[in-house]
């Protein structure tokens, strides 16, 4: 308790004295954010690169981006659910059903965009259904989505019928996974990203100055802009060394940035965090708890459906295996490894992106080494266990720190 008092009192202005001090305070109170997963990612990359020199090539990293697109989309959806302290075990099966809807409609000659729309709507309906069941009937999400998962796999099998695998022939649908941005466009996007971050940082600072509020350190503002510039430059440089930025990667990034914005800067996002932090307090504060819950379940299944569309485009078909296999565990793992808490209220969609990169890198690296599935499973299991352990330990630390 004493150490705690000292930590939070800081200096009279109430501002952490320095950037390092602020980081230390965050780490001590268990706010690790992206740090552990980024360290993990660097370690994984260094290990694979030292064993196999092909790992960090433009070609392989470009392939990695395609591999994580589906996991990343599902991970973003799962992150929203986890933020509420719930779980969605059906998100992969929903992606399979969406793939089935997309492919069957496309084969029946429906316009590609309409087929996409129908697949997304299917996801939304499933999400509404599950959300309603959890929110109004009060069945735990674990059961509702587990039952759903089985049911949707059945629906997928019924949809595909005797043929089993149904290939996509529509050029546009196939091109989603096989298109790359021209080099100049990749660079233009990097510039836009940096300009966007710089604009938002300076705008906030100007607003706070006008209102006479503490600005925080200018270094950290500058650091954010510099970091965005360096990271986007490296990413574009590496991807351009092969065929350019994959369109699928761009789609994933757009969704991550958009939902990152929704969570951090909108009232809806604030309410999602509040609900995950203390549902009873949220209810008393007049937050529309049920609406938020329904919206989040719907959103997650929509993300599942979008992930399914990307997956179908990449595989060029829908099959009984769509949305099966490791996909569910990989997407939950992506969210959790990224640092989103299973206990609700903590995490962000950027974490899901980082987690998807970790999972994708391990699978990709193991494939490069042609390691057997047995090794792959064991290593992925180990990483997941470590990630959840970090979450549990920091949570315990937070509880000691608080109160």
């Amino acid at each position: 308790m004493n150490a705690q008092e000292q930590r939070v009192v800081q200096n009279p202005k109430g501002q952490p004295t320095s950037l390092i001090g602020a980081w230390r305070a965050r780490i001590q109170s268990g706010e690790l954010g992206l740090i552990p997963v980024l360290i993990g990612l660097v370690v994984i990359w260094v290990v694979f690169q030292s064993i196999n020199g092909h790992f960090l090539t433009g070609r392989n990293l470009s392939n990695l981006v395609l591999q994580i697109a589906t996991i990343g989309m599902l991970g973003v959806g799962e992150t929203f659910i986890l933020l509420l302290g719930e779980i969605d075990l059906s998100i992969a099966a929903v992606s399979g059903v969406a793939a089935g809807v997309l492919v069957q409609l496309s084969v029946a000659g429906v316009n590609a965009w309409l087929a996409i729309l129908a697949a997304v709507l299917t996801g939304a309906l499933i999400g509404l259904f599950q959300g309603w069941w959890v929110t109004y009937i009060g069945v735990p999400s674990f059961i509702v989505t587990l039952a759903g998962s089985l049911g949707y796999q059945g629906i997928l099998l019924a949809m595909l019928g005797q043929e089993g695998t149904v290939p996509i022939s529509d050029k546009f649908l196939l091109s989603i996974a096989s298109s790359y941005l021209p080099a100049w466009l990749g660079w233009a996007l990097a510039v836009v990203a940096v300009a966007g971050v710089a604009w938002s940082v300076t705008r906030t600072r100007r607003d706070r100055t006008l209102r006479g509020l503490d600005l925080g350190s200018g270094t950290s503002a500058g650091l954010r802009i510099a970091l965005t510039a360096v990271v986007s430059a490296i990413v574009v440089l590496v991807l351009n060394s092969y065929r350019g930025v994959p369109v699928m990667g761009l789609i994933l990034l757009v969704f991550v940035v958009f939902f990152g914005f929704v969570l951090q800067s909108t009232q809806f996002g604030r309410h999602v965090y509040a609900l995950g932090g203390n549902a009873e307090a949220s209810r008393r504060a007049g937050i529309p708890v049920r609406t938020i819950r329904m919206a989040v379940f719907t959103l997650a299944s929509v993300m599942g459906a979008i992930g399914g569309i990307l997956g179908a485009s990449r595989l060029g078909s829908a099959s009984p295996a769509s949305g099966g296999g490791n996909l569910l565990m990989d997407s939950i793992a992506a969210a959790v490894i990224g640092g989103t808490s299973l206990f609700g209220g903590r995490g962000s969609v950027y974490n899901a992106l980082a987690g998807a990169l970790v999972i994708g890198s391990v699978e990709n690296g193991m494939d490069l080494l042609s390691a057997p599935s047995s090794t792959k499973y064991m290593i992925e299991g180990g990483i997941l266990l470590i990630a959840v352990t970090i979450d549990t330990l920091t949570r315990r630390r937070r509880q000691r720190a608080g109160k």
């Binding site: 308790m1 939070v8 009192v9 109430g14 109170s29 209102r211 965090y273 209220g345 509880q399």
Partner: protein
């Protein structure tokens, strides 16, 4: 029901509760509870377990509706049938569990459910105006003499007293006339209890009516102007703090003495 001397002869109570009666099934929780609080006054509500303190607070804060009895705010009859209605009448309750979201920072908790926003292109999404919220919170915190860490600190990182302070500040921020505090010092250490008692005195100095539920006679005698004692669901006595001893209050609470001020 007669009470003793009032803060000022011509002042009107900001909140007056008359002859509340409430039963839950066969259980008669309240049979006849009356109390009042004046602007700039602290009234302690004391009583043994089961005396009806919690039910009384729940009725005033709109969580329960009484079977009989009336509530007046500023002399006007008030119809409080929901927590939202209580808030509209300027009555804010700080529950014992504080109802804070540990994962959110101080400003977010102060504005929980009442965020300052501006519309975005799709009307369902509203953009948080974080600086405006912080700007609005500062003067309220300053006027209460509250010193907290940076407002972007998550509430999980605060001490018990600081958490209580955030919960009280939230009540004040929403322009309340009456603040109900349920056992505000129950879980606190000595220094933190001190902080919270000082805060109660500042609420009083701001001209708010404050009702404090407490078990702790020491705290009660330190901050309260008047003490309302409940026993077995009825008001058993109302005392000026200066005209009574803790022993006597305890005696009335437990029924060890005849009811005094004519409930």
């Amino acid at each position: 029901m007669q009470s003793m001397a009032r803060p000022a002869a011509d002042a009107k109570p900001v909140l007056r509760v008359e002859h509340l009666r409430k039963s839950f099934g066969a259980v008669q929780a309240l049979s006849d509870v009356s109390l009042d609080v004046y602007p700039g006054e602290v009234v302690a509500l004391v009583g043994d377990n089961g005396a009806g303190k919690s039910t009384t607070i729940k009725i005033i804060s709109g969580v329960e509706t009484p079977d009989e009895g009336e509530i007046f705010v500023d002399g006007q009859r008030a119809h409080i049938d929901s927590p939202a209605a209580a808030e509209r009448y300027g009555i804010q309750t700080v529950y014992q569990d504080l109802a804070l979201c540990d994962n959110l920072d101080i400003v977010s908790n102060l504005f929980l459910g009442r965020e300052i926003t501006r519309p975005l292109v799709p009307p369902m999404l509203r953009l948080l105006n974080k600086s405006a919220m912080e700007e609005k919170a500062k003067p309220v915190l300053d006027s209460l003499g509250i010193r907290l860490p940076a407002l972007s600190t998550p509430v999980a990182g605060l001490s018990g007293g600081q958490r209580q302070t955030v919960a009280v500040a939230r009540a004040v921020l929403w322009g309340s006339k009456v603040v109900l505090l349920d056992e505000p010092t129950a879980a606190l250490g000595v220094a933190q209890t001190r902080q919270v008692l000082n805060l109660i005195l500042r609420l009083k100095a701001k001209g708010l009516g404050v009702i404090v539920i407490s078990h702790n006679m020491h705290d009660v005698f330190e901050v309260a102007d008047r003490i309302t004692v409940l026993r077995l669901g009825r008001t058993a006595g109302v005392f000026e703090k200066t005209a009574v001893t803790p022993e006597h209050v305890v005696a009335v609470m437990t029924g060890a003495t005849a009811e005094v001020s004519g409930a």
